[in-house]
């Protein structure tokens, strides 16, 4: 089933097309990847899907509902979570507190519940904590739960960002360069974490630079170049696509080796 | 028609004062990325020092403004060194609170020295000019002329001199500027000093028309912030256009509607701009 449908999406910044006529289907239970050189419009595409930017053309549909012009907090409430390219965390808070922040969107209790300590407030506090712990355990960082976010290594921070996103109970997770800044040898572990997400009922759309990681991970790959679609297909198809090799894979593959 | 010409010149004179005060504030925002909430207090201090040199010491009017401006330049530099520099890496609320602290310090200081009562500074420039049938006081003509000269000098300074160019460079790109060897902390000092100097010239010019009091900077503070938000924080042309626009709007509404409305114009402008475009008009959208 198609979870997210992007149709002819476009965004112009003062006469320049950051994204142009991009169409993509994200299938439920799959991992879809977007790749492309720097400035290809990958992050802009994410920002369009999540509602940070209003697209100048095209539409985004999530589970059959048009969400083209909805705002980020609606997107999260609808079930689309995201992480950022540069890890955004609450540095002065512990990992558990960070992940608990992800529970805000699912919290119904109001200030009155908090003041009067109603059963709903107590029940919700308990549920929130259980869900946050579950997300931490899933990301295998529960032993760090009382550490401050600024004190843990980069990889744990990246995992915390994922756990925080998972705490919002998304059906679709947008990961913006999830393995960026992680040493090469640790990317396998991180790849395994991403691979286990669909089993949890979370489909994934990710942007990534590390080619080796993408090829073993993604079911479908969209290649962007100058904001436009260059190719779309399975990893095998992408790897053998002459346009892609010329524009992107060829050059970076050589640089990497 | 005579009334209109009269009020137009009043508006232009007031606009000159607003411009001088607003330009310093917008420069400080451009370079230091902070709204200097103590700007109105610097303006007030400039007015009192001009008053002191003119009335108590007895130096000529222009010289009094000049000496006061130079002293305020030093005060501005001191403010940057002692208050804003130590806070450059703090959360944005901290330097605003510190600026409010500085503002109260200056106000209390002025009150301790000169008292809380209003003071009048008699203008040494008397006489009136007849322009198109309207009687314009010479003081207002002086304000307009001096404001234009100072603005021209400032434009020349920023475009031509090394110091001015570094201010412009930092305003555009702080990181890039430090990469090419510009010392940002030097430029920050210079900018705050310059902003205090310009505010003093504005205050010295307008003091003979208005009364002096330790809280005279409060209303001006609000107005210059309205101007630079209207013109775009950090934009020099914006501050000039905004300054004259607000001044003329103020004098005209005060003349043709009521003085109360005239006083409220700055506030209405501020609220309207923030309601329509919360980051101010004319500001470039920052890409996330």
């Amino acid at each position: 089933m198609t979870l997210l449908e992007i149709r002819d999406l476009g965004k112009r910044f003062g006469g320049l097309d950051a994204v142009k006529d991009v169409s993509l289907d994200v299938e439920e239970g799959r991992i879809t990847a977007v790749i492309g050189p720097n400035g290809a419009g990958k992050s802009t595409l994410f920002n369009l899907i999540h509602g940070y930017y209003r697209p100048t053309s095209g539409s985004v549909t999530f589970k059959g509902d048009d969400i083209t012009n909805s705002s980020p907090h609606h997107a999260v409430a609808d079930g689309i979570a995201r992480t950022f390219q540069t890890t955004h965390l609450f540095d002065d808070s512990t990992l558990l507190e960070n992940v608990l922040a992800g529970r805000i969107v699912r919290s119904k209790s109001t200030i009155f519940d908090a003041v009067f300590h109603t059963p709903r407030h107590r029940r919700e506090s308990r549920i929130n904590k259980d869900k946050a712990m579950e997300a931490l355990e899933f990301c295998e960082i529960d032993t760090h739960r009382h550490d401050l976010a600024s004190n843990v290594p980069q990889e744990v921070q990246k995992r915390t960002a994922v756990a925080m996103a998972l705490a919002t109970e998304p059906e679709l997770l947008l990961l913006d360069e999830p393995a960026g800044g992680i040493p090469e040898e640790e990317t396998t572990d991180f790849g395994n974490l991403i691979r286990s997400l669909p089993k949890r009922g979370v489909s994934v759309l990710l942007v990534e630079h590390k080619m080796s990681m993408i090829m073993g991970l993604a079911d479908t790959i969209l290649v962007l170049d100058h904001g436009q679609k260059l190719a779309l297909g399975t990893p095998a198809e992408i790897q053998s696509n002459p346009d892609v090799i010329r524009a992107y894979l060829g050059s970076t593959a050589e640089e990497k080796k | 028609m005579t009334l209109f010409i009269q009020q137009l010149f009043n508006g232009l004179a007031l606009g000159g004062v607003y411009c001088l005060a607003a330009i310093g504030l917008t420069l400080v925002f451009g370079v230091l990325r902070i709204p200097n909430l103590a700007h109105g207090a610097l303006y007030m201090l400039g007015a009192y020092l001009t008053y002191f040199f003119l009335t108590t010491i007895g130096v000529p009017y222009i010289a009094a403004i000049g000496i006061a401006a130079i002293m305020l330049f030093v005060v501005g530099v001191g403010l940057e060194r002692l208050v804003f520099h130590p806070l450059r890496n703090s959360p944005h609320t901290h330097h605003m609170i510190a600026a409010v602290g500085a503002m109260f310090f200056f106000q209390a200081l002025a009150q301790a020295i000169w008292g809380a009562d209003f003071r009048r500074m008699d203008t040494p420039i008397t006489g009136e000019l007849r322009i198109l049938g309207a009687e314009i006081s010479a003081q207002r003509i002086v304000i307009i002329v001096v404001a234009v000269i100072v603005l021209a000098l400032l434009a020349w300074f920023i475009k031509r001199s090394i110091h001015g160019q570094t201010i412009e460079a930092i305003e555009q790109d702080r990181v890039g500027a430090s990469l090419v060897g510009i010392n940002p902390s030097m430029v920050s000092m210079l900018t705050l000093g310059l902003s205090a100097l310009l505010a003093t010239i504005a205050a010295g010019l307008v003091a003979p028309i208005n009364l002096l009091s330790p809280t005279m900077g409060d209303a001006l503070n609000l107005k210059v912030f309205a101007i630079i938000i209207l013109g775009g924080l950090g934009s020099l042309p914006g501050a000039i256009v905004g300054g004259f626009a607000l001044a003329i709007a103020e004098t005209m509404t005060a003349t043709y509607i009521s003085s109360g409305v005239g006083e409220a114009v700055a506030f209405i402008v501020l609220v309207a701009v923030l309601a329509i475009k919360p980051t101010g008009l004319f500001t470039k959208a920052v890409q996330r």
Partner: protein, 353 residues
């Protein structure tokens, strides 16, 4: 409930008990009673400032204005309109809530310096209206003979001690509400906004709406503080709405600690005491206090409670980290986890159990 093991709660209790016992020692000294009572009125407004500045991270310079609306609301309604105190008080609270909510409609769209400038404008306008609208507010002549709250039975609020306990009880409620907000998801929402609006947005927080509510709540507490102030003092002038008041509140919260539960109370009491020491130089006290506030922001921005809380948090975190490690069967990373000196956001998830 292991409240006795919680140093935060113990500290709070100690301050509250000392304050509650104050009338025993000062009951005969009306002046001292009044000073402390006025300080508590200010503390209520400071708890309002705490919500918007401490929790949400937005500098509001309108708090003095809302305090003034509260004071003039109660003052004018009980004198010129001859209402009873309680009806005037309730109507005033509703009024400040409405003004705060309306201002919040614009404030929610602004942030950081724009928010501060906008609220500065609001505060200034409120002051202008109060000090210039002579036919209604009497401008500089102020409002005299504000009514005392009507007591019932043996309670007579003309006695300073009764008045003290009235303000004290309302202050306690404010403190409890602050505490409740802080450990709930509402508090977490505000702290999220303080840290990063972008990140808050990304995890589904309704940033603008939350900011508007926080601003309205801070206005309401400002109004409550002002309303009580009017009845405690009996006479109010335009200076009760001036930006000087805002500045005093800022000083209170800075000394005590922004974003803490006990900070506003402790800061208000300490600085009120300092103000009394300086009171011979009333007009010039800012010559000393201005630099003090600058120094506080530069050298001790977390305030007394902020620093104490930091120590407590670090200790309890160390214990919890050790515990987490033990249960994790030797999964021991090689970096030092407890070295940090930074304060946590303060929402202790264990507390909510």
């Amino acid at each position: 409930m292991n409240a006795l093991k919680n140093p935060r709660l113990l500290g709070m209790l100690a301050v509250v008990i000392v304050l509650a016992a104050a009338p025993i020692f000062f009951a005969e000294q009306n002046y001292a009673m009044r000073v402390v009572t006025v300080g508590m009125c200010a503390a209520i407004a400071v708890y309002g400032l705490n919500i918007i500045l401490g929790f949400t991270g937005q500098l509001s310079l309108a708090q003095g204005g809302f305090f003034g609306i509260g004071a003039y609301g109660v003052g004018l309604l009980t004198t010129d309109f001859d209402w009873s105190f309680w009806s005037a008080f309730i109507v005033t609270i509703i009024g400040t809530a409405a003004v705060g909510y309306l201002c919040g409609l614009i404030a929610l769209r602004t942030k950081d310096e724009y928010f501060a400038i906008f609220t500065m404008a609001i505060g200034f306008i409120i002051f202008l209206v109060i000090s210039r609208w002579e036919s209604v507010t009497h401008a500089h002549s102020g409002v005299n003979n504000v009514k005392f709250p009507e007591g019932g039975g043996i309670i007579d609020f003309e006695s300073p001690v009764a008045m003290f306990y009235l303000v004290f009880v309302i202050l306690l409620i404010c403190i409890y509400v602050t505490h409740a907000i802080r450990r709930s998801s509402v508090g977490r929402t505000l702290l999220t906004i303080r840290t990063s609006e972008d990140l808050a947005d990304a995890i589904g927080v309704r940033v603008g709406f939350s900011k508007q509510l926080a601003f309205a709540a801070s206005a309401v507490l400002g109004g409550i503080g002002g309303g009580l102030y009017a009845t405690v003092v009996g006479f109010i002038g335009p200076d009760s709405a001036s930006i000087d008041k805002t500045f005093e509140f800022l000083m209170f919260i800075l000394v005590g600690g922004m974003g803490t539960v006990a900070g506003p109370l402790l800061g208000s009491m300490i600085v009120t005491f300092l103000f009394e020491l300086f009171q011979d130089f009333q007009a010039y006290r800012f010559i000393v206090l201005g630099p003090i506030i600058v120094a506080l922001v530069i050298f001790a921005p977390r305030g007394i409670i902020g620093y104490l809380g930091g120590i407590v948090d670090r200790r309890s975190r160390k214990q919890k980290i050790a515990e987490a490690r033990r249960t994790a069967d030797g999964a021991s990373p090689e970096y030092d986890t407890a070295k940090s000196g930074t304060v946590t956001s303060g929402i202790d998830p264990e507390e909510t159990k």
